[in-house]
Subunit: 251 residues, 2 copies
DNA sequence: ATGTTGACTTGATTTACAGCAAAAAGGCGC
DNA sequence: GCGCCTTTTTGCTGTAAATCAAGTCAACAT
């Protein structure tokens, strides 16, 4: 959904003192998240403000609606779901975030977070205190520009999602999500065809505005038609062109 | 949908030389768009980079998908629609922008605009060259913060829209739009109850993921139930609580 | 006044997906 | 292995909104 700002090596491990040894400069995700033009010195300045805490377990919340906004987060490993809960308890999954992607921009506007964020599996994140990031952005203009770009990307992808929810049928919505995940795997040099979905059918359906039954039926049909293969959360994309067609099919 | 950054008096007129006499400091919309904390001197620095051109006529495009990204725009008067067109010609209205609101953040990410922007009626905008705005934002930290806030607001409202499209029925979608417009009129000290819709049924339907027939039928039903009164584009909200209920009704 | 055009409304019918229910398949502790 | 619980799948039925098809209405030109 979004690309990332700053993230450290996904092979980073907790050390004996309970914090994480890692740095942006030797993180294999930095190409996804830091401005490419940033020089070594500036990377280190960014690196200094980043906090790396112990991993989240599946189901752990990173923050909740109403929490004071202090930081944005880059996903280092695992996967993360963001969701709104409105007054009457209606839930809406607003995004899935994979390693190298940045979340937390809800909250910038009102100094309070506007959604809930939960780990879908064991995941680790880099926490970037926003005030310090703003200070640095005043000094490093490529960093400021990059921040604008990240937020702009989020806006663009949200608009695409509005189109998906408003205009596509069930097959188109599923195909759109699968291709989005595929592209994001490819960016990390992982296979764009074989993947394990990080989210449940429930989460997929909620995100796409469909019931779990429709998600399940649609996946089954696509399997039967040999467009994909489905085995629980293991998915293989077998016919990208057909998926593309489904994405753009007029209703 | 968004609040604005910088906008000048809506009573501004074209002068004989073909440009517009106006300035941020005497604009009655500046409270909506400029950071409140900005001092007079800084307002003038912002004012200097703003370009005010002659008004757009209904149907005029401000920019189109693929155009090089140079500026963002604050609406000064009238109303503006943004919309995506995907590869197969599916259109999705992504937002309506009223005086005091800022648009154009699509385009930040890729230096190319990612949507189309068209005037729904005679409208005027303040054009703010983005590079210059970035430069100023490096110097005026409240301005940088404000830019982040504006983009954050856009993201939040887009997420709300995802919930609307994904979870609400036709009545809930219509009610949500009407209340949103009402709140935005109220911010400008206009009546929150009586309003003239700036957009056609077609645009409403496209934005909300409904056909024009459903929009029309739903408005008629709400009229019959005395929740609103409808006369073409003239709408009066007669029962805000009921509209609120409809917004949050689970399916 | 009269025809023309485009925007909107209303009615009848169809359909994609929701909702309900029950069975199948994992996952996990013991 | 075996029960327990959750997730997913599959079948059947109902419904909200789409689609198709006329109409109405207002603006505007002839």
């Amino acid at each position: 959904m979004a690309s990332s700002i700053i993230a450290t090596n996904s092979s980073a491990n907790a050390c004996t003192h309970g914090f994480i040894k890692a740095s942006c400069s030797d993180c294999n995700l930095k190409g996804l998240c830091l401005p490419i033009a940033l020089d070594i010195g500036d990377i280190e300045r960014v690196d200094k403000i980043i906090q790396r805490s112990r991993p989240l377990q599946s189901g752990d919340h990173l923050y909740r609606t109403g929490d004071p906004f202090r930081s944005i987060y880059a996903v280092r490993s695992g996967s993360i779901k963001t969701y709104l809960v409105d007054e009457n308890g209606i839930e809406q999954v607003t995004g899935f975030f994979l390693p190298g992607e940045v979340l937390g921009f809800d909250g910038v506007a009102n100094h309070k977070h506007a959604c809930n964020v939960v780990a879908l599996e064991t995941s680790s994140v880099c926490e970037i205190p926003f005030e310090k990031l703003e200070e640095l952005s005043l000094q490093i203009h490529t960093l400021q520009h990059h921040m604008f770009q990240l937020m702009g990307q989020q806006i663009e992808s949200d608009h695409q999602m509005m189109l998906t929810l408003s205009k596509k049928n069930a097959e188109g919505r599923i195909a759109t999500l699968l291709l989005s995940l595929s592209k994001r795997y490819a960016r990390r040099n992982l296979s764009p065809n074989a993947m394990r979905l990080p989210m449940s059918r429930m989460d997929m359906g909620n995100f796409l505005g469909l019931t779990i039954e429709t998600v399940s039926r649609t996946l089954s049909r696509l399997h039967k038609e040999d467009v994909i293969s489905v085995d629980g959360r293991e998915i293989v994309l077998k016919n990208h062109e057909r998926l593309d067609e489904l994405c753009h099919l007029l209703q």
